[in-house]
């Protein structure tokens, strides 16, 4: 039963080999979907290209449906999977800062790496920026620490936060996704086209 490495079904030594293989697939998929182009990515904020929304939401839906289905069938033990922790203000403030960074720079870290790989100089500058950002955070860690470590609610899922069955939530989430896909196509037809 999965997850395989935490359950010692695959020896731990394979972990780093698997890391590279997964990374190659990740980079290949992102680049082939057009995520090495900042102008394509930024389209989601101006309505001229919704690739980000479509790729991101489709991936989230496929993975969440797959994980809960495999858990239901007994192929993976959900309780052993890592759930990203919930630090209320860290998520809100950090997310808001990332949102401004996304619109200003046109990349997020994963997509900037894809753009670096195909020679985009703006992406190289962006990655240097990220490292400066990490450096600033680390040097002023005591200033950020209250929101970094505070307002912690545990490694919780929406099942607990909203007190809803995961299956119902996934159904609503899927319907929401399909509506968003349809709306995005309507918006794109109305917005002036941008070519890049």
């Amino acid at each position: 039963m999965g997850p395989l490495i935490p359950n010692d079904l695959i020896p731990f030594e394979w972990n780093l080999v698997i890391a590279i293989i997964i990374g190659i697939a990740f980079g290949y998929i992102l680049e082939s979907s057009g995520f090495s182009s900042s102008r394509k990515l930024a389209g989601v904020f101006y309505g001229y290209d919704f690739a980000v929304l479509k790729v991101f939401f489709t991936a989230a839906l496929v993975s969440v449906i797959g994980i809960f289905y495999m858990d239901y069938l007994g192929y993976v033990d959900f309780s052993m999977l890592y759930v990203h922790p919930f630090y209320l203000w860290g998520a809100l403030i950090g997310g808001a800062i990332m949102g401004v960074g996304f619109v200003a720079g046109g990349f997020c870290p994963g997509t900037s790496l894809c753009a670096v790989a195909i020679g985009k100089i703006d992406a190289m500058i962006y990655v240097i920026g990220i490292m400066i950002g990490v450096f600033i955070f680390s040097e002023f860690y005591s200033f950020f620490e209250p929101i970094y470590d505070g307002y912690f609610y545990g490694n919780i899922t929406l099942t607990e936060s909203l007190n809803i069955s995961p299956y119902w939530f996934i159904l609503f989430f899927t319907i929401f996704g399909i509506i968003a896909f349809a709306l995005s196509d309507m918006v794109r037809k109305k917005v002036k086209k941008v070519f890049y």
Partner: protein, 173 residues
């Protein structure tokens, strides 16, 4: 002749479907999701640790990621990130998209694009530390397991993006 974009990419639903399968596979094998900003954090920790080990050891944040007898670059996310670079290079190479250039809207200069790229990077790097993950590690991998933190981070990133998009419009449209 109909004008169209220079590059044609995968159908976004196809790309999203494969990405979803990859996230599923990653959780099935490793019990965790994907990441991207983690490797950049490790790089910064490693640089600071090399330049001034004393400073790194005394800093409450760097010291979390420094282990004796083991480089801070020897971890899962750094190797995964190496893979991202290889995978994107292969994809871009096969499609004839590799070239050294600054990509920007014809309405702005390269210099302006680079300045905003730097500002954007600094903000994203800072935000990703505060939120303990970026669009990959926090939002995408978090959403796959219905993590509340992942969903809130995702809403904060895109919500703020839409709120401030107006002020940056000259760079893009």
């Amino acid at each position: 002749m109909k004008i169209q974009n220079k590059h044609t990419y995968w159908n976004p639903y196809f790309g999203g479907f494969l990405l979803g399968l990859l996230i599923l596979f990653t959780f099935y094998i490793t019990g965790r999701g994907l990441g991207a900003s983690g490797a950049m954090k490790s790089s910064v920790v490693s640089i600071v640790d090399t330049v001034s080990p004393e400073h790194a050891k005394n800093n409450a944040y760097y010291s979390k990621f420094i282990e004796e007898d083991k480089s801070s670059l020897n971890n899962w996310l750094v190797l995964e990130t190496l893979g991202i670079l290889i995978g994107a290079f292969v994809s871009g190479g096969l499609a004839g998209r590799i070239s050294l250039k600054v990509q920007h809207s014809p309405k702005i200069t390269s210099k302006r694009r680079l300045i905003f790229a730097l500002i954007g990077g600094v903000l994203f790097g800072l935000g990703a530390q505060i939120a303990r993950g970026c669009t990959s590690g926090a939002a995408l991998s978090g959403m796959a397991v219905l993590s509340t933190g992942g969903f809130v981070t995702m809403l904060a990133i895109f919500g703020t993006g839409y709120l401030v998009a107006y002020f940056f419009r000259k760079n893009w449209i």
